[in-house]
């Protein structure tokens, strides 16, 4: 046994232990029994060290349904502030939206996400951003499995060397392809919603049998 692990882990707050506890339960095998947490974060920029999350939006997808009331949307108090990205997201430092501390936001998100699979467009970025925030607050990394809608979408396209595939597919490309309204682009929950619909339509095309077909 690592001599320091016990001492270190004692410092972790209760909500983290509850989150770890959730992972004792195995994920169901079939797609329909699984709950997917579709998330998107709005950040001040792309740097994992300098930039911060402004807002976390997420919703739960289970058996092809989204319960609106169960969606998750929190705004985070900011110290670091970048006026350029605020223009994109329309989140101003002193906007009227009520904000909570980063730690509180993380706590609420972990309680919300549990052990479910996280789905996002370029999900790795959101997860890294969240991990950086966890680290600042002295917490370990996220333990959830993840699915990226971009790579899933690419799997629906035909393989041919002549018809060039694009290198990257932005969320806008997917929204266009699946005729999803892009009205709420650049609000975390709005983007999460677009991602969720794109995810559903991609799944219908891929027709995976079991959850492990997706996670491969």
């Amino acid at each position: 046994m690592w001599p320091f692990s016990k001492k270190k882990s004692l410092e972790l707050p209760n909500f983290w232990w509850a989150y770890e506890e959730d992972f004792n339960e195995k994920l169901p095998e079939s797609i329909h029994e699984n709950t997917f947490v579709v998330l998107d974060t709005e950040t001040t920029g792309f740097s994992l060290t300098k930039d911060r999350m402004l807002c976390i939006g997420a919703l739960k997808l289970r058996d092809n349904t989204i319960v609106v009331k169960e969606s998750f949307e929190v705004y985070i108090q900011q110290e670091h502030y970048d006026s350029e990205s605020a223009e994109i997201h329309g989140i101003l430092k002193h906007s009227k939206k009520s904000t909570i501390s980063e730690l509180e936001a993380l706590k609420q998100f972990l309680e919300y996400a549990k052990n479910h699979i996280l789905v996002g467009h370029h999900v790795i970025f959101d997860v890294n951003m969240m991990n950086a925030a966890l680290k600042r607050n002295g917490l370990p990394k996220l333990k959830n499995k993840t699915l990226d809608t971009e790579s899933l979408y690419i799997r629906t396209l035909l393989i041919s060397s002549v018809v060039q595939k694009k290198e990257r597919y932005a969320l806008d490309d997917l929204a266009k392809k699946f005729s999803i309204s892009r009205k709420d682009r650049h609000t975390a929950l709005g983007d999460a919603f677009i991602t969720a619909i794109a995810f559903l339509r991609t799944i219908e095309k891929l027709k995976p049998q079991k959850i492990k077909d997706l996670l491969r």
């Binding site: 349904t65 319960v67 009331k69 969606s71 041919s160 609000t187 619909i197 219908e204």
Partner: protein
């Protein structure tokens, strides 16, 4: 506590009754309680006899078909913004119909416990519901939405002998052109011409007293019986026959037949003592019935909105189903349906052009490729298309291309809206690789012909079946000529094309068993397209190209032409022509049955006779494959 998603839902709902009658606050509250449901094609929302759910449904995207359990007869299709499955919840009875996703659909499920108090409190909502549920009311809302809230349309069922009858609620014109009894014939003739109508109602103090049709003017005025200065009164038909406005489609057809008239006057209560609500013409009925290609064609050409085209295309599918049931020869059926598909695409291009900010900078041609190009697209399958535009000076090339890419993107999106799926390989005109100037296309096709690798062969086999759907035909002709000149100089290209045609796996195994797919989502299904249709289509293409025949794209017709050109192989070619039609029919039937592309077939669902029929065509497939193998010396090709 509203959130982004509930705001979006409220934003959508507020456009449709009964939600448009709600106050903003109420709607926001209600939207928060909504559950969003994604339904895959052909999945059931609720089935007949099922006890009511806790929510009713609003279609957000896609379409839901309502039908009686066990019959393929669709009673109604609910489109964007339509409400369904509400009445059983209010009446506390089980569902009377089955609701199935007609295509990929997103539904908003609204809990009845949250909706009911609002409905009771808000008089306008209450009225809307009462009117929608009561049959034969004259409220325009309920006519439009009848059957959707109500769930079924029992009156028309009683009379209908034709399954297409109930499909669309009948629309009649409510914008009436009327005149007084004393008006001169000349005046009303001008008015009728101006409004482009075939009949005019004569009213006295808002009550109908007579009707004048084109026929009256022809028979009574043009013959010299009455002068054009005569009063309307002297030539009108009177008294008029009136009907109540809640008339069903079948009832109106009966009424017209009974009195041998082509226009029905609808009044508030069906007597001449109440105000006129509208006029129903034979044309309205024909459009609603939708079983007449000429009427559908006219409706397509008149459509100025993509949404309208989408509705018409439902009618085309019904027409197709009817034809197949009546066993009308497939050659004829595919001609008619292709013509309608082509007209729809043409109309879409027109609409898209009218929506562009600028006129096209140069002439262009919209090409349909693949099955649509061959005139074999009976079901709504994928769209494959391309644009050729006139050559422009180099400095203008990219700007010109940008214009056509934008046009291509709009057209493609509209085609998707009316039911043509996107091509999974992106072979569409908004893809820069499929939007070229004429000389660029010449270069591209020449490259394919001179470097016939597997990809180039695949691309040629899709592209070379192109057909001009819209625009300047001479561009396409010039390209075709170029292709033919090229292939004559490179006979090796035929060998490669023939080898491509042989690449698809054979349909049956050693013991004449069906070969089914080994893995993937279609495991144990028979791939009709890949294993039977494609070999026969590909063989026709290489053979017809080798004869330099360019005007024939349809596979069956290609074989007929080949039979003419090579009398010694006549029998085989005619067998191929027959097989291609039989296979296409088979695919179409399967597709209509399962509301998909009909490509994959579950063998255990086929009966003995169908299996034998299918196998008979396989023999022909094998024979034509060996013919091209020998003729184009495919064996010599290093593979």
């Amino acid at each position: 506590m509203k959130n982004t998603i509930s705001e979006r839902i409220a934003d959508f709902l507020k456009n449709y009754p009964p939600f448009n009658a709600m106050e903003v606050k109420q709607l926001e509250q209600l939207s928060l309680e909504v559950t969003i449901i994604h339904k895959e094609t052909n999945t059931v929302v609720f089935s007949q006899g099922e006890s009511p759910h806790e929510s009713f449904y609003v279609v957000n995207k896609g379409a839901v078909a309502l039908s009686k359990a066990g019959s393929s007869q669709i009673l109604d299709i609910c489109d964007e913004g339509d409400v369904f499955g509400l009445r059983p919840l209010l009446a506390n009875e089980s569902y009377k119909l089955e609701a199935k996703a007609y295509e990929e659909t997103i539904l908003y499920a609204i809990p009845i416990k949250d909706f009911k108090p609002l409905a009771l409190e808000n008089k306008r909502i209450g009225n809307f519901l009462i009117e929608s549920f009561a049959s034969n009311t004259g409220n325009p809302y309920s006519i439009k939405h009848r059957g959707k809230l109500y769930g079924e349309n029992s009156d028309s069922n009683q009379y209908s002998s034709d399954k297409m009858l109930d499909l669309q609620p009948i629309k009649y014109s409510t914008k009436l052109i009327t005149c007084k009894e004393g008006t001169q014939v000349k005046t009303i003739a001008n008015k009728m011409t101006k409004h482009n109508v075939g009949c005019m109602l004569v009213v006295r103090e808002d009550l109908p007293v007579g009707i004048i049709t084109d026929k009256d003017i022809r028979k009574k005025v043009a013959t010299g019986l009455y002068p054009i200065t005569a009063s309307v009164q002297s030539i009108m038909s009177s008294p008029i026959i009136t009907y109540p406005k809640g008339l069903t489609l079948a009832q109106s057809q009966m009424a017209m037949m009974k009195s041998d008239i082509s226009h029905l006057v609808l009044t508030e209560d069906g007597t001449t003592d109440t105000k006129v609500a509208g006029i129903l013409s034979k044309h309205d009925i024909m459009v609603a019935v939708g079983n007449n290609p000429a009427v559908l064609l006219r409706a397509i050409k008149r459509a100025s909105k993509v949404k309208r085209l989408r509705g018409i295309r439902h009618g085309i599918m019904n027409l197709l189903q009817g034809y197949l049931e009546q066993n009308i020869p497939l050659g004829l059926v595919s001609k008619i349906i292709s013509e309608l598909n082509d007209a729809s695409t043409k109309q879409v291009v027109k609409i898209a052009l009218s929506k562009m900010e600028e006129e096209p900078p140069v002439k262009f041609t919209w090409l349909s490729m693949g099955s649509q190009g061959r005139g074999e697209q009976l079901l709504n399958t994928d769209q494959d298309n391309a644009i050729i535009f006139e050559d422009v000076p180099v400095e203008n090339l990219e700007a010109t291309r940008a214009y056509f890419l934008k046009l291509g993107e709009r057209i493609s999106k509209m085609l998707n809206t009316i039911g043509f799926e996107y091509c999974p390989a992106d072979m569409m005109a908004y893809n820069p690789s499929w939007c070229h100037s004429l000389s660029e296309w010449k270069k591209v096709t020449t490259h394919w012909i001179h470097n016939p690798g597997p990809d180039e062969i695949l691309l040629s086999s899709i592209f070379f079946d192109y057909n001009v759907t819209y625009g300047d035909k001479s561009l396409a002709d010039e390209l075709s000529q170029n292709i033919f000149d090229n292939v004559q100089g490179y006979p090796l290209f035929f060998t490669h094309l023939a080898s491509g045609a042989l690449q698809n796996p054979s349909p049956s195994g050693f013991f004449r068993d069906f070969l089914v797919e080994q893995d993937g989502e279609h495991k144990d299904f028979f791939d009709l397209k890949l294993r039977a249709l494609m070999p026969i289509i590909d063989a026709a293409r290489v053979l017809i190209l080798s004869h330099s025949i360019k005007s024939i794209n349809n596979t069956a017709e290609r074989y007929e032409k080949l039979a003419e050109l090579e009398p010694n192989n006549k029998e085989l070619y005619l067998a191929c022509s027959y097989a291609s039609k039989a296979l296409l029919k088979f695919r179409t039937r399967q597709g209509l049955l399962h509301n998909d592309s009909g490509r994959y077939i579950a063998l255990d669902k086929l009966n003995k006779e169908e299996k034998i029929k299918l196998k008979r065509t396989f023999k022909t497939v094998k024979e034509i494959q060996s013919l091209i193998e020998v003729r184009f010396q495919v064996k010599n090709l290093l593979r």
